[in-house]
């Protein structure tokens, strides 16, 4: 068993590299990830991203302050699996977490492993009292994933955007440090 902060036997987090641009271009424009790419504020989750936009996102992730944005890769093959973003720009007491896994690698425990690694990092390294995540109401898989891994729904942020001709809400979910400790 690996003892690294950002590595398990199955996955590891690594910084984005200069030559990840091509990989990100393909990954972030994958039609199945529409609406659940977890992009920096201001980028559309639905509109295909241009090369300069991909480069801007890449730069934001590489230079991220008050949080982390890292690539997730498989330990055994070093294959790119997706990305994790932890953000405590507003307040370190309440970081948010988001994970995206490339469609061909979903449902293989990579997301679960990445989430647990991210949660452990937050509660073992930051003065956080809770972790939150914000999931589109249309993302049933994401909501199920969050709930299965201990997050509780706390209502919604109504009418955050429009998709396919309809307004949609974000469901807010959180996990308290006391709940996390209880599940250890």
């Amino acid at each position: 068993m690996s003892s690294s902060l950002f590595e398990t036997d199955l996955i590891r987090f690594r910084p984005f590299k200069k030559d990840d641009i091509d990989l990100l271009d393909e990954y972030l424009n994958h039609p199945e990830l529409m609406g659940r790419k977890n992009l920096p504020w201001g980028f559309s989750e639905y509109i295909p991203l241009s090369r300069p936009q991909i480069e801007e996102i890449h730069k934001k992730w590489i230079e991220k302050k008050k949080g982390i944005a890292l690539a997730i890769e498989e330990v055994s093959t070093s294959t790119f699996l997706g990305h994790i973003v932890i953000d405590y720009g507003w307040d370190t007491l309440q970081p948010s977490i988001s994970i995206t896994i490339t469609p061909s690698k979903q449902k293989k425990r990579f997301g679960t492993e990445a989430l647990h690694l991210g949660i452990n990092y937050i509660f073992n390294s930051l003065p956080a009292m809770q972790i939150n995540c914000w999931i589109s109401e249309s993302n049933a898989i994401g909501l199920q994933f969050a709930e299965k891994n201990g997050f509780k729904q706390g209502g919604r942020m109504r009418r955050v955007g429009m998709a396919q001709g309809k307004f949609y809400d974000l469901i807010v979910c959180d996990m308290l440090k006391t709940e996390w400790r209880g599940n250890q």
């Binding site: 809770q130 509780k152 942020m157 440090k177």
Partner: protein, 189 residues
């Protein structure tokens, strides 16, 4: 036509407001955010903030000073931020304690909501506040806002742990409460 209510009117910020803004920010009972601590803001900091505002037709915020119609006194300030074109904005209001309980905050809030829904055509207005801040929640509810979400244990303030409340008001909810206005903006849904 200005931004005018029954008790107050809203005008642009002026340099003469800065000292009062600074005082409200440095008072723990009137400043809203834990994030804004410590309460040691200086006049020069506020002057810099005031002077840094740039001319633009692509603004994402609006900051107004609230003035009493009766006495022309400075009452406080009200603002919107996170404005997304024709879609959403978040608002916040701060009132000098000497004007609390006189309906000034509600009046200023109604003026700003009318501006946001009837002039900017937004679909939703949000307020972010915290549990235990009953006056803020009551003020929001009085204008028709609903608590739609809650994030637990997000704020440490005054020695206690509080939750973030996500409060919002949809366009159709606003017009349902204001039959004096007709929503002539075609539905985008």
């Amino acid at each position: 036509m200005g931004l005018e209510g029954k008790l107050v009117y809203l005008r642009e910020e002026m340099e003469e407001d800065i000292e009062k803004q600074k005082d409200l920010r440095n008072d723990l009972s009137t400043q809203g955010w834990n994030k804004a601590l410590p309460p040691d803001y200086t006049l020069s900091m506020y002057k810099e903030r005031f002077e840094k505002r740039k001319f633009s037709f692509d603004r994402t915020d609006g900051r107004f000073t609230v003035i009493s119609k009766d006495t022309d006194e400075y009452v406080g300030h009200i603002s919107y931020s996170d404005y997304e074109d024709r879609f959403s904005a978040a608002i916040g209001v701060v009132i000098d304690k000497s004007f609390w309980g006189k309906g000034m905050a509600y009046d200023a809030q109604e003026v700003l909501l009318k501006f946001l829904f009837l002039e900017l055509g937004v679909q939703v207005v949000r307020i972010w506040t915290e549990s235990g801040k009953e006056h803020a929640v009551d003020l929001a509810k009085r204008s028709g806002f609903k608590i739609s979400g809650k994030l637990r244990n997000t704020i440490y303030k005054g020695g206690t742990i509080k939750s973030t409340l996500i409060i919002d008001l949809l366009r159709e909810e606003y017009f349902a409460l204001h039959p004096e206005f007709e929503d002539k903006l075609p539905s985008i849904e």
